[in-house]
């Protein structure tokens, strides 16, 4: 049965809450409780990871100047401000994903969310693109794409349409949705193989699909810069 792939506008769903749920988030929370936070450890703060290629390697598709600003200024500022914001707080010492999820706070975002989510998004974006990239996916991913979108070209068309219609600042994602219904804060009580699909997701500003327990596969930054 071909599952119709959904361009999931979950952003219009008002709260996509962090319920005890299937998937990796549950495991991470339990792990946190086992370790005593009283043990003194050095918090190094988050580092600005450079993209895994030189800044001029994406020419002519993306100029070095773009990467200089995008990584060297925007991404750097997010990381620096994030470190300043969370040092000494409860969020200090956690992984980037944990801070994203905790500061999302079920839609009632804490001040750190903007910086941490943008830091995560930009790091993910750096890895979503590469010199000599492009082409087509293969193997299992291609089969899933063909199952959920019909064909690779259909995916491209839907993705481009979604990105072009993502008003204002935001990101457009290809993500893997497992065990979740299309309705926010609903856990699928009878998860089936058909529920696991690829989806295209549009998010506003700094939000990313981690907050809804989707697994992002790739992203395009649709902020103006």
């Amino acid at each position: 049965m071909m599952t119709a792939a959904v361009t999931a506008p979950f952003w219009s769903l008002s709260s996509c809450s962090l319920l005890p749920c299937q998937g990796r988030m549950q495991w991470k929370r339990n792990e946190k409780k086992r370790f005593s936070r009283k043990v003194a450890f050095i918090t190094a703060g988050f580092e600005l990871k450079p993209p895994p290629y030189p800044l001029d390697a994406l020419e002519p598709h993306m100029s070095q100047e773009t990467l200089d600003y995008h990584w060297g200024k925007h991404h750097k500022t997010y990381v620096e401000n994030l470190n300043k914001q969370i040092v000494g707080t409860d969020l200090d010492g956690l992984s980037l994903e944990e801070v994203v999820l905790l500061s999302y706070n079920r839609g009632n975002m804490l001040p750190a969310f903007n910086n941490v989510a943008q830091a995560w998004n930009h790091e993910f974006f750096s890895e979503s693109i590469q010199p000599g990239g492009g082409g087509k996916p293969s193997g299992y991913l291609l089969r899933l794409i063909e199952r959920d979108f019909g064909s690779f070209n259909d995916l491209l068309e839907r993705f481009k349409a979604a990105a072009a219609s993502n008003f204002g600042s935001g990101w457009t994602w290809l993500a893997y949705k497992a065990n979740r219904l299309d309705v926010a804060n609903a856990i699928n009580p009878l998860p089936k193989e058909e529920d696991k699909t690829l989806v295209i997701v549009k998010t506003p500003n700094a939000v990313n699909p981690l907050v809804c327990d989707y697994s992002p596969l790739l992203t395009i930054d649709t902020w103006e810069v």
Binding site: F167, G168, S169, G170, P204, E224, V225
Partner: protein, 231 residues
């Protein structure tokens, strides 16, 4: 005989309007890009000519074009009784229509220095600003701070609350017009803090843009709007 002469007309629009009139449908009012009352380079060095040209000819024009398209589609959906089609169009209308409304105000909010840009407001508005914010500097500081802190894309506004008869500073996201924050709010001064409004010149340093834009703000227009609404 009138119908024969109408049928003889070659222009499609003429025929469309006439048949609309005959059938009793009103054709929708579309919008055009307003002209700027100054040259693109007239606001330098506060805002570069390059930005003004792209902002006006590309961004604002795109909002106008897409707004007109959305209105056409809305008209068709309304006439067909397509309720879900009508609702689906709302976000495109809000975004593009808002973009047109906001930018039309913005061009009037700016003026070259030699035409009074940057000159502090006098009269009723000047007095109201001093009363509500202590001084013009106080207002500028507040608006610049809120504009700099706005996440993503949006606008920072000085508005008049018609009902409460007071000035307010507020922000809106994306292209939401000020009325979405309150039905009685009238925009007096709006500053576009989308990246396209400043990036080519100020790069990522939005606060620098917000420091300099005040040098070309047209307080005369804001005063006119204020006095009109206060009557």
């Amino acid at each position: 005989m009138a119908i024969r002469s109408l049928a003889g007309r070659r222009t499609l629009t003429g025929l469309k309007e006439t048949s609309s009139r005959l059938l009793g449908f009103r054709s929708i009012q579309t919008f055009t890009l307003p002209d700027l009352p100054y040259d693109y380079s007239a606001l330098e060095p506060a805002i570069s000519g390059e930005i003004m040209q792209i902002h006006h000819q590309k961004h604002h024009q795109a909002y106008v074009t897409n707004y007109n398209n959305a209105l056409e589609q809305l008209d068709q959906a309304v006439n067909k009784g397509d309720a879900s089609g009508v609702v689906k169009l709302q976000s495109a209308i809000k975004f593009n229509g808002g973009g047109h409304v906001n930018h039309s105000i913005f061009w009037k909010n700016l003026a070259p220095v030699k035409e009074g840009g940057g000159e502090p407001p006098k009269g009723a508005l000047g007095y109201a600003i001093d009363t509500h914010f202590g001084s013009l500097e106080g207002l500028v500081k507040k608006m610049s701070a809120e504009g700099a802190a706005l996440q993503g894309s949006g606008w920072v506004w000085l508005g008049l609350d018609k009902e409460l008869k007071k000035l307010v500073v507020d922000t809106t996201a994306n292209q939401d017009p000020l009325v979405t924050k309150g039905g009685s709010l009238v925009p007096l001064v709006g500053i576009d803090v989308w990246e396209h409004a400043y990036y080519l010149q100020y790069k990522n340093v939005r606060p620098e843009y917000l420091k300099n834009v005040w040098k070309v703000i047209n307080w005369k227009y804001a005063s006119e709007v204020y006095e009109k609404e206060c009557k």
